[in-house]
């Protein structure tokens, strides 16, 4: 029996700007198991990022319930969410969001300094294959390398969950695959529960499960009986 890491029930999110109301999430139910790697697919504007942000404690749901293990995320206030992010969550975004004034090693150290049981920045950078580039600034690295630094930074604290919003969105296929390999490696080596948003349908093949989004809802779910390693994926 595997442990349920995330459980969401009837999640909605409504953005209100003036008169206009946008229902970004219109009732989402979902469960994620520990160690699972899931892919979220769906058209633009269907609410994928919104869901991921709520799961990661970056945003509050308008209604509904979401828990992480035994933390009720819907009940946490802002500082509670900050602590939750600090202790449990790793994020990777499409635009790498590295600190330009810190080197790769220091960008990772940023996290290891405040984490409970982190790996060293060096270990974490080795994991993503950047052992040689630790003292370079982001401006001195390619997009794919920067994204791997971002992943190293996200995993360095051994997070319970890793949330990736279009991590390969800005990369070509070859570099994208190296990034996916890093994610996959971490998922298997560390058993980190991973959720990955993508527009690239090919990537679904590396997931345990795939959620299909449409109009703020989960419109469908697929289980991959056999997973492909990232190296076998191409687009």
């Amino acid at each position: 029996m595997t442990e349920v890491v995330f459980e969401a029930r009837g999640l909605t999110k409504v953005y209100r700007s003036g008169e206009v109301e946008v229902r970004a999430l219109a009732g989402v139910d979902l469960e994620l198991q520990a160690g699972e790697l899931v892919v979220l697919l769906g058209p633009s504007g269907s609410g994928k990022s919104t869901l991921l942000n709520i799961l990661g404690g970056l945003d509050h749901a308008t209604s509904g319930y979401v828990r992480f293990r035994d933390h009720d995320l819907t009940a946490l206030d802002d500082s509670g969410l900050t602590a939750y992010r600090r202790d449990h969550v790793g994020f990777v975004f499409q635009f790498y969001n590295l600190i330009p004034s810190l080197t790769a090693r220091e960008n990772v150290a940023l996290v290891t300094e405040i984490a409970h049981n982190p790996m060293t920045p060096e270990e974490s950078l080795e994991l993503v294959g950047l052992g040689q580039r630790m003292d370079h600034f982001p401006a001195q690295m390619s997009g794919g390398e920067q994204q791997r630094v971002a992943i190293a930074r996200a995993i360095a604290k051994r997070p319970d969950v890793l949330l990736c919003d279009e991590p390969t969105g800005a990369l070509d296929s070859k570099t994208g695959i190296r990034v996916l390999e890093a994610l996959s490696l971490i998922n298997t080596e560390l058993g980190t529960t991973t959720a990955l948003i993508t527009h690239n349908a090919a990537i679904r093949e590396m997931a345990h499960r795939v959620f299909l989004f449409g109009d703020g809802r989960i419109a469908g779910m697929q289980v991959n009986e056999t997973r492909k390693p990232p190296s076998a994926i191409s687009w």
């Binding site: 939750y84 330009p100 004034s101």
Partner: protein
């Protein structure tokens, strides 16, 4: 409305706080310029036209006694346009309701003719009638201080006889715009009066029939003042002339000059500081703005906007800020100007005040502000023009950071990554960081400059009243008396100690340098009124030889051991060579001291005294004052306690006004600089801060990145501000120094601390405001976008 102008308005609305902070700094520049220029011109113009209309003299001379016929000879000196001979003597006054004796200067007005020079402006009543020894016209300030009206009477001791005088007129005179009693430091309208009386009457009272003892001259255009003075001196020498002097040395004129000099310094120093800082702020803000709007600029260029309309768009933004700054500056400048004018009205007695709010002052201020604003925008505009659209649409080349603090440093002393971020950010823009620190330090410097006046005045009071002149009162005889007069003073009720002094008018000469002043002779065993050396230690007067104060030494380029030529302007006259034995400390007037016996020898006319310093038993004060009021030989009395409290009051009034202004200006500058640089940092760091927040850093932790940077810049600014403040203070003190008085240059440690604290508080407030913006940062929105 054009789309770009709509963007302009939205930008202004969005950035209103930053724009306002810049506008306020600029407003300070405009306001100080309008204030100081307006006040300078008003005062200068008022004085000039007052002098012209009332024919204020240009050269003045006092003599013992000269026959009226000499007036003809004076008029015959080439270059003299007009002359008026008159009688001028001191008198002790006994006024009802005033326990202590007051001093009056009796001045004659011609009986038969109009006043030719130094004409009175009558506020009420008339001039005294011919030969009326009981009629007097008094200066308005004195009348007001005692609520005296036409018909009021008071008593005066004129040439030893006490008389009742009736006020028939109340007047103002260009000679007494600043009315200072003999020996006083500050005007005291209760204790000093000018008494204009009939010439015949005064001649009769002072045994000066057919004679005069004072003369004023006006010169022809193009006349050489020095030549006239020289000829006048040689003419008057045998009548006991004590040396003619020009307006520059006329007391009231000299005080106005000192004030004008200060205003001039104010208008030259302050506005440039503020305009430079606002240009810097505009530069910094605009550079950030175009960095953020780089793609928009590229897009505008791509769709066919020429570079000029785009540049014009940003220039308009800057001009809008300048316009707000100028408007606020003008309002505040005019308002402060009125405050200053009211202060002047208290100090300077003018019949009218020409307030010069000339359009050209405003025009100059406006133009200078606009130029400063545009100058601040130049660098940004050049970048806009140079930006190729294709390049602009790509993200800018990322900033290059330098790697230090990495690797090898042991973990225990290694700063946290957050601190490293802040430090690297500073070193990435060293010029901007340096200028920011400089801006903050200017705030500190301004405060030190303002607050040091308190320290300086404290020191001045301590030295002048408690270490140098420690007597309770100084009595002056109407004429020099034989030293027997000292015994008479010693016998007055309550007198505990009496020390005589003798003052002799001389001209000191060293080569081509010369100055007229008084040598004061003091007894060896002086204890009440002492002489201090430059280290503030009391000195012993030498057997022979002269001690001069630092100012005299500077003017005449004298050093200890030099021989100085002393031209005696009294008694037997003649020229003597005297060695300078010491350079001493004095903040007031031009001082030269000798041993009183040595001075008697120099004069070769036996022991004489000009006045006596006394210490008395306070319980017998009433009796003493009553006795003094009816002592015929006394011409004036100075009271130390009064002088001190008057000094404190006046200084307080003056300094408080200026210090308040300076503090506000300092806070504006510090706040403007810190707030703007914090906002720009926030904008540059927004993405990093959002990332850090996502990583789980708390608000307090991410704010620390910004606050560390601000703190470092501020900490650098503090000592820098001390140094600049020291420099400003020194310049200010120099601007304050004149022959009349010197303000010592003293800055207490507490002053450095206070100045730093005020600026740190302003920094903290703007940092807090920025901190609140960190709290409101929309994480998701920032992360969704590309840099």
């Amino acid at each position: 409305m054009r789309a770009l102008d709509r963007k302009l308005l939205r930008d202004l609305r969005r950035m209103w706080a930053q724009a306002l902070a810049i506008a306020l700094v600029m407003a300070s520049g405009a306001a100080t310029f309008v204030l100081a220029s307006g006040a300078y011109r008003s005062l200068d113009e008022t004085r000039r036209s007052y002098y012209e209309r009332y024919r204020f003299g240009e050269v003045f001379a006092d003599i013992r006694r000269a026959p009226k016929t000499v007036e003809e000879q004076i008029l015959a000196i080439s270059g003299v346009a007009a002359a008026e001979a008159r009688i001028s003597r001191l008198a002790l006054l006994d006024i009802e309701g005033l326990a202590e004796p007051a001093t009056g200067q009796a001045i004659s007005v011609p009986d038969m003719a109009e006043q030719r020079l130094n004409r009175l402006h009558l506020r009420a009543g008339r001039l005294p009638e011919r030969e009326r020894t009981d009629e007097v016209t008094v200066n308005e300030a004195f009348a007001k201080a005692h609520k005296l009206q036409l018909g009021s009477t008071f008593k005066a001791v004129l040439n030893g006889k006490k008389r009742e005088l009736k006020i028939v007129g109340i007047a103002l005179s260009p000679e007494f715009i600043y009315a200072l009693g003999p020996g006083d430091l500050m005007p005291d309208d209760r204790r000093f009066a000018v008494l204009w009386m009939s010439e015949k009457a005064l001649a009769a009272l002072f045994d000066l029939d057919g004679a005069f003892n004072s003369v004023s001259l006006r010169l022809l255009r193009g006349a050489v003042e020095a030549d006239v003075i020289e000829k006048l001196d040689s003419l008057l020498a045998r009548y006991g002339g004590t040396g003619a002097y020009s307006r520059r040395d006329q007391l009231s004129h000299a005080f106005l000059d000192a004030e004008l000099k200060q205003l001039d310094a104010l208008r030259r120093v302050m506005p440039p500081i503020f305009l430079l800082v606002s240009a810097f702020l505009i530069n910094m803000t605009l550079m950030r703005m175009i960095a953020l709007e780089r793609e928009q600029i590229g897009l505008l260029k791509a769709i066919g906007y020429g570079p000029l309309p785009i540049a014009a768009h940003y220039i308009k933004f800057v001009l809008a800020i300048a316009l707000v700054g100028i408007s606020i500056g003008f309002l505040i400048g005019v308002w402060l100007g009125q405050g200053l004018t009211r202060l002047y009205a208290d100090f300077f007695h003018f019949p009218f005040l020409i307030f010069q709010n000339d359009a050209d002052i405003f025009a100059t201020a406006g133009i200078v502000c606009v130029v400063a604003a545009v100058a601040g925008a130049i660098r940004a505009v050049v970048q806009i023009l140079a930006l190729a659209p294709a390049v602009a649409m790509q993200p800018p080349a990322p900033p290059r950071y330098r790697r230090w603090f990495s690797g090898r440093v042991p973990a225990s002393i290694r700063p946290s990554q957050l601190t490293i971020m802040a430090l690297r950010h500073i070193s990435r823009w060293p010029v901007r960081a340096g200028l920011t620190s400089l801006g903050i330090s200017l705030g500190i410097a301004l405060l030190i400059t303002a607050l040091l006046s308190f320290d300086s005045v404290d020191l001045m009071i301590d030295v002048a009243f408690f270490r140098t002149d420690r007597q309770h009162a100084t009595l002056n005889f109407t004429d020099d008396k034989h030293s027997r007069a000292l015994q008479a003073v010693e016998r007055l009720p309550g007198v505990l100690r009496a020390e005589p002094y003798r003052a002799v008018a001389v001209r000191l000469r060293n080569g081509h340098l010369s100055r007229k002043l008084g040598i004061v002779g003091k007894p060896k065993e002086m204890d009440l009124s002492r002489v201090l050396d430059v280290a503030f230690q009391p000195v012993q007067l030498p057997e022979t030889g002269l001690m001069v104060d630092e100012r005299v030494a500077e003017i005449l380029q004298l050093r200890r051991g030099d021989l100085v030529e002393v031209e005696l302007l009294e008694g037997r006259r003649g020229i003597r060579l005297v060695p300078v034995t010491e350079v001493i400390k004095s903040y007031l007037g031009l001082m030269a001291f000798m041993d009183i016996d040595a001075l008697h020898d120099l004069m070769d006319d036996g022991p004489r005294v000009t006045g006596v310093h006394i210490a008395y038993d306070a319980r017998k004060q009433g009796e003493l004052f009553a006795a003094i009021k009816s002592t015929p030989a006394l011409g004036s009395i100075g009271l130390q306690q009064h002088a001190l409290s008057r000094f404190r009051e006046t200084i307080a009034q003056n300094i408080n006004y200026m210090v308040t202004i300076y503090v506000v200006l300092a806070v504006i500058i510090a706040f403007g600089v810190v707030y703007n640089s914090a906002r720009i940092q926030l904008s540059e760091h927004a993405r990093e801060i959002a990332s850090l927040r996502v990583l789980g850093f708390t608000r307090a932790e991410v704010s620390r990145v910004l606050l560390t940077e601000l703190a470092v810049l501020t900490i650098v600014a503090v000592p820098l501000g001390w140094i600049i403040g020291y420099g400003f203070g020194w310049l200010l003190i120099k601007a304050f120094s004149s022959d009349l008085y010197r303000v010592p240059f003293a800055i207490e440690r507490a002053t450095y601390a206070k100045a730093s604290l005020v600026v740190l508080a302003a920094t903290a407030v703007s940092a807090l405001i920025v901190r609140r913006r960190v709290d409101k940062l929309d994480l998701i929105a920032v992360l969704k976008t590309r840099d």
